[in-house]
Symmetry: C2
Subunit: 430 residues, 2 copies
């Protein structure tokens, strides 16, 4: 038997305990795992899983220091005391399983350095993509390729909001409110709608796919608050849907420099990511010689996340079963890189853009747009006058691939034109 200590018995903790207490029909290895202690905030709370009374404790430190415990599973969320408890557990020789993307994205360096010294695993399948197996496939399978690009829809809340906006032509604020009522969005939705959660997740995916640590605060991050029904409509007419994408990519095969970014993006309707709807997540990985693979599934929720958590626990037990308590880690499951990835500034990004202009004088403006874009090496794929709004003409432009810095300079020039009333929207195109 292997003893497990659980930190946190909320939604995911309850789901995790539920799988481990009901092993019939699942991998038989799960029968060798026992929940020895579960650290909780209150002993009196009504719980949906039945654990023996002596398993529950409010003394979280006693969980991470218990000499009989082999694996500590951290499901409290938040930065502290999660980070300190993980570090303490590692110092006591425990293997770690966690779903805590925020802690890993911010303190991965500290945590993995400690784990490597102690010879323990820190597995994080549940931190990205809920129930979708993505972390282990990236580590164990896809790494034989030269990875060029990882693109994910990794935040269910924003994907739900954008899907509803697209389906019903509704505005952001209304859908957010509805999502909050349905429990798909938090009372304080900032981390989701401003892209921070997605930025945490792409930082983690990048560190695995490109084998280097990532400074989380360097990830370029834009949320979806500024997306309106108008934009979704125009995107639709041009053959696109709008998705919040988290992207890490090598802009050139010769260079190690990466672009890592989170922003709402126009995705062509035929693209595999365009049909990922609602709270589902998907992660697309592109590499050579593999080409493109995509992983799709439920990005959140008690059951899916617990499935990922327990898969990590089971993997550690599988290794302990075969190798005994050796301190040599499987290099494919541990994290041996020390250096930080070099990130390119967003100005160096090469991408297509969508921009909408409100203007007074259509024929004049199109000429000016052409000149200003031309001055900055921006070539246009299409210029469409889509309609009128309050007597102003709306012109929508989609560019060819262009350096972001050049595009921004052209925009600044255009903004100063007399014929331009405003530029209500600028979005990148995948």
């Amino acid at each position: 038997m292997y003893n497990m200590g659980l930190l946190g018995l909320g939604t995911v903790g309850t789901g995790t305990a539920d799988i481990l207490l009901n092993t019939a029909g699942r991998n038989p290895l799960l029968q060798k795992i026992q929940i020895k202690k579960a650290g909780v905030r209150s002993l009196d709370k009504q719980r949906q899983v039945e654990l023996p009374a002596d398993v529950l404790t409010t003394d979280l430190e006693s969980v991470v220091t218990d000499p009989d415990i082999d694996i500590v599973v951290e499901l409290m969320g938040g930065l502290e005391p999660a980070r300190s408890l993980i570090l303490q557990a590692i110092a006591h020789g425990k293997h770690i399983v966690t779903a805590n993307k925020a802690v890993i994205a911010r303190y991965g360096d500290e945590i993995y350095t400690a784990a490597n010294e102690a010879g323990v695993y820190v597995l994080i399948e549940a931190a990205v993509g809920g129930g979708i197996p993505i972390i282990k496939p990236l580590k164990q399978s896809l790494g034989v390729n030269r990875i060029q690009r990882v693109i994910g829809i990794v935040n269910g809340t924003t994907n739900y909001i954008l899907t509803q906006m697209t389906a019903h032509g509704a505005d952001f604020a209304d859908v957010l409110k509805e999502a909050q009522e349905l429990g798909y969005a938090e009372a304080d939705p900032t981390a989701d709608v401003d892209g921070w959660d997605a930025a945490d997740k792409i930082s983690i995916l990048t560190s695995i796919a490109f084998a280097g640590r990532v400074k989380r605060e360097s990830v370029h991050c834009e949320g979806i608050r500024q997306i309106t029904a108008t934009e979704i409509n125009y995107a639709e007419k041009l053959g696109f849907v709008i998705k919040l994408l988290a992207i890490a990519e090598k802009m050139s095969l010769d260079s190690d420099e990466l672009q890592i970014r989170v922003h709402p993006t126009l995705v062509a309707k035929e693209h595999p990511l365009a049909s990922i709807n609602g709270v589902y997540n998907a992660i697309l990985v592109e590499g050579a010689p593999l080409g493109q693979v995509m992983f799709y599934g439920p990005g959140a929720g008690s059951g899916p996340t617990a499935s990922a958590v327990v898969s990590d626990i089971m993997n550690i037990v599988g290794i302990l079963e075969s190798s005994g308590k050796t301190k040599n880690l499987d290099p494919l499951l541990s994290c041996s890189h020390q250096h930080y990835c070099t990130l390119q500034p967003i100005e160096e990004l090469v991408t297509r853009f969508y921009a909408r202009f409100l203007c007074y004088d259509v024929p004049g403006v199109i000429g000016h747009l052409g000149t200003s874009f031309g001055n900055h090496q921006v070539s246009l794929e299409s210029v469409v006058q889509i309609g009128f709004k309050d007597k102003l003409a709306e012109i929508v432009v989609v560019t060819h691939d262009v350096k972001e810095g050049n595009f921004r300079k052209a925009l600044a020039e255009i903004e100063s034109l007399d014929a331009i009333q405003s530029i209500p929207s600028v979005l990148r195109v995948l």
Copy 2:
């Protein structure tokens, strides 16, 4: 360093060697792998990879018996001598990596029994889904769930043919010919178009997902030769596309009995599998508490398949690095089940059906259809008269869920009606 022996240096063998000889930008663990011997049919053939002359040999036995070789990678295909060489390699204590679905689907029992005795791994990521990581995720992650269903588009040739038929309204024979010219179909396309290859693959997926061996010859298997442009057209009008699906499912949660089958299937356009086109593959896995996850990617080709092969090699090396040459296998990567899955006869399958009738007398027929279906507890979701063909009326019926045996009895009764000229098509609906 770990020494590898390669059997076969065709398309996939060349792709595999190419990755291992060019490790820059890939997982650094690959630098510890060396191709010691490569067994080939002819030494004189021009090759696209440069291997030292003393690596190539026509003496295949010398590869599997070489005491310095740790891992034998079988990429010859075909049943013999592949099977015998794999068994011989196992007897000499080599770990095995193979892409050979035919051998594993037929001789998995013999091979895994020998491997367990010898304490070696037999990894088969490349046998199903080309470059898509599916075997290891099933073994290592998804098995914590109670698996209910595995549904795959696992044959690229038939998916290409059906996609082309759908896009261009073309007939099977024409598209097959074109696929053969493009190299997407073999000169003898039997194994693909009659569903045998998909049946091999679903046998393998089943044995992992449901932890029991499968008698390959018991898998119900129908190919796509009988699919016409007419059927694709009618399916389209009803909101479906036609896909060759390989399905393994538990019909009831209380029973261990499985339905395993390969057949062309109507898939609703909104279903994630409906948009998997061309030579791409996808595998959807459904379980509790996970829900549905789907894996999508290139189902064949040198690069993708080599990516899967090398991922297996790398996993074995990762384990050897951490555990040394212990003979305890990681239970998640080995194959410990001994029993055979119990399969239900296809008559017990509960599914929806699509059927097209050619008939003389429409009003009379609809009444008769209703009566005959009613006699056998078949309830209808829709009855549509779609057109006329050579003065015969075409009636298309889609049923609700019904036991296949009952449906077939109703069909037999209907076939004998005077008003019915023929029943040109009967297909299952997902």
